[in-house]
Symmetry: C2
Subunit: 278 residues, 2 copies
Amino acid sequence: MEFQLIERYFQRQAKRPEVVLGNGDDCALLQSKHTLAISIDTLVEGTHFLQSQIAPLDLGYRALAVNLSDLAAMGAKPLSFLLALTLPQNDQQWLTEFSQGLFSLADSFDCELIGGNITKGPLAITIQITGKLPTGKALKRSGAKAEDNIFVTGTLGVSPVRPTPRIDFAAGLLDLAHAAIDISDGLIQDLNHLAQASAVGASLVLPDIPCHEIEKALYRGEDYELCFTAPPESRAAIETLAKQTNTPLACIGKITTKQGIFDAQINQAILIKGYQHF
Amino acid sequence: MEFQLIERYFQRQAKRPEVVLGNGDDCALLQSKHTLAISIDTLVEGTHFLQSQIAPLDLGYRALAVNLSDLAAMGAKPLSFLLALTLPQNDQQWLTEFSQGLFSLADSFDCELIGGNITKGPLAITIQITGKLPTGKALKRSGAKAEDNIFVTGTLGVSPVRPTPRIDFAAGLLDLAHAAIDISDGLIQDLNHLAQASAVGASLVLPDIPCHEIEKALYRGEDYELCFTAPPESRAAIETLAKQTNTPLACIGKITTKQGIFDAQINQAILIKGYQHF
């Protein structure tokens, strides 16, 4: 029955030249000269979403969007993905809507489903995504330098049901930015990961953070927006890129040599906390 | 806490030249001239195992072994993997043993953990594995030809806790065999997948199937042995390869132009069924 479910809802013809073999064998086959960016993310019912509060159409979209956000955080362009779906039962209506939501986003980024599996159990969706990067280039967390401006995309603290992956904007940042991370666990916690990986600190101008409630912007997770740092001389080009790609952008502070995350207006440390997985 | 758990139990230094960037960023980065073989597999508590009946050490081993088996079924050599772990709670003892079991097998195949995530929820383990193949080569399901011999490795129907991935043997088959599949849902169901993908049938000599109970060999899943087909002229070389790689091997029948799976001794169709996922 797993095989019929896959054929019915998830079988697609491979189109990209990099996909040598798609769905339907023990492995998919990929061939690419590019550097491949690889990530995996899981949404578990009861932890990341409640089935009563999200439509299958939105869930399919969201499950892929959070993975695309990881590619954007490296500046990578989507190539393909695998889907590991755990379902309590064979629910045709649910599968129809979930796969529609999933493919609506996948198709808009030419991101091909090349394999996966469906198993019985408590509802959970794991997607492994593969993107491509020009050889030797990537927006790592570890590249931030003192005096870099700190930017964020979008509005923080709103945890949208359908996050917008900032793929095209991020790919344009490869030659402009020093470091990037996606905001999945709250701005402060994620910026702190970036700062620690780069052995620097950050000073934030809180009123410049685009949000409705500053507490949620700082500490609530699941925004799936980008936080990145870039040297002052890149600023004009970054702002042009943001306009070209229709990306809301704000400069919210500066990278400092002093480690920690600081409130620039009162010159005090900001408490570092965020989404706790356990 | 997720980050500390990952650092404590799963952080490893990337060693392979193909791994440009390992654990700890939004994506891992891979660079390879080879064709990449990519697969994903999930073990869910209550469906694939019972926590009361399998030690975490064995579970860690098994979770990777079932993925290595998919690589073997393509003739691919292991390169790297991602781990998506869903845990009900932060259990240090469990994580210590699980990671030991996982890495004992990973290290024996130089298969590097390059990323993943840990989420809270009902116990489940998803591993995405990446292997490499010489460009243009792979043991697909679709290559079987009439008159091919059908071989299996190991003993069927025993569903071992620690399956033996037939990696080296399978890599040696690339120039000798026509088609392969791993036996995860029972010999008959999986051989039928291979036969259908190749638009052929199969005739089996049941007494030649290495097993203790023929019903279990035919229909019980989770053997994670290889079933493959090869032209008669490859047979001697395959038997030599099996000896060199210490792989138990049996020839159990022949590929036929007539579709379906047949019992050669009574010339009757064998019922096609196997592990049902739903």
